[in-house]
Symmetry: C3
Subunit: 136 residues, 3 copies
C-alpha cells in the first residue's frame, strides 16, 4: 500500500476536470490490478466522477448546485467566512470528498466518458490537497 | 485482488433492486473477510444502498429525484441528447457511481434492510456495465 | 484484513460528530499505512465528512436537509413508519452510508478540519451499528 500527497493547483469556483493532473502524479503504470483511493483533505470542495468531454456539463453542474444551496441562504448560522462558506460545506457532503477508482493494467479503469471532477465550492479556495492511497 | 466486469440487463428509468443479480455474478463464497468495490462505468446512472423490501421506496426515490432535477430544466445548456440527459448526469453524481461493500464469511455483510439500487436515470439507458474488484 | 462491528450510542435526530467514538473503538495504532472502511448497517442514517469544529455547521446541515426533503412530503407513498421515514431513506442515499478513510502512522489521515458526522435522520433512530474493515 503506497500513500502520497498531491496538491491540485488553485482553480476558480466551479467544476473542473482534473483526471490528467491526478494521473500524472501517481505511479499507476506498475499496477496490474488494484484500487486507487483519493481523499480530498478539505470540507469546502468535492470529488466526483462525471462526463469528461463537454464543458457545458461542468457549467450546468455549477448552476444546479448554486441554485440548490444558494450563497447567503438567510437561515444559515455558520457564515463568518462569507456567503459561500456554508453552501460549500453542504455541496462538499452532497458530492463527497473521496473517490475509490479501479486500476487495471497500469491505468485508471473508468468508463469511456468518465472523468474526475474537482468541485471547487469557495470563491477563493486556493490550492487543494489530496491524499492518494494505492493498493494492489 | 480479482477484477471482473458485469453487465446489468437493461432496465426502465427508475430505481431497481439489483443485489441478487450482482451477487450471483461474483465469487464471494471463497472470501472469509474482504471488500467488494463496484464501479459503474457510466455517467447517467448510479449505485446506492437503500431499503430492500418495500417497492414504494424505490418509487418515492424516482419521484423525489425527478422533482429535484426536472427533465428539461430551462437553464441547462447540455441538452443535445434530450431532456433527460443533463438531469441524469446530476443524479449520477448526487447518488454516486460506486459502492464499497464489506464481505464476511462468503457473503455481502450488509444490514438486514440494505440492498443495492441501480438508479437508471435515462429513458433509454440500455445495459449497464460494472467493474467489480474484490479484495481480501 | 480485520473486521469488527461498532455500535454508536443512540443520538437525537440531527448531525453529530462521532470521530472520537469511532477512533477509540478501532486498533488503528498498529497501522503504518492503510485504509479504514466504515459501513453503517442502516438505511435511515448516514456518514459523511465535514467541518469538525463549529457546531452551527451541524445545525445548518439539519436545517438544509430537513427543508430539501421535508417530513410528511405529500407525494411520498412509503409512510407507514411515520412522517420522518421516507425522508430519512432519501437523506441516507444523498449523503451515503459508508466512508473509506486513509490511515497513516497509526492515525486517521484526514484534513485538519475534517471530522466524521453521523446523520441521524429518524426521530427515534436508536443505537446504530457500523461494520469496520481495516486493510493495510
Amino acid at each position: 500500500m503506497k500513500q502520497l500527497e498531491l496538491r491540485l493547483e488553485a482553480r476558480p469556483r466551479g467544476f473542473h476536470l482534473v483526471t490528467d493532473e491526478i494521473v500524472r502524479a501517481l505511479p499507476l503504470k506498475a499496477v496490474p490490478a488494484g484500487l486507487l483511493h483519493l481523499q480530498l483533505l478539505h470540507t469546502s470542495a468535492s470529488l466526483t466522477l462525471n462526463e469528461n468531454c463537454d464543458p457545458t456539463v461542468r457549467g450546468d453542474f455549477s448552476t444546479f448546485f448554486d441554485r440548490l444551496v444558494p450563497d447567503g441562504t438567510p437561515y444559515f448560522r455558520h457564515d463568518y467566512e462569507g456567503d459561500d462558506d456554508m453552501p460549500a460545506h453542504i455541496k462538499s457532503s452532497l458530492l463527497g470528498t473521496s473517490l475509490m477508482l479501479p486500476v487495471s493494467r497500469g491505468r485508471l479503469a473508468l468508463g469511456q466518458w468518465q472523468g474526475i471532477y474537482l468541485g471547487e465550492h469557495r470563491d477563493q479556495g486556493g490550492s487543494r490537497r489530496i491524499l492518494a492511497t494505492l493498493t494492489q
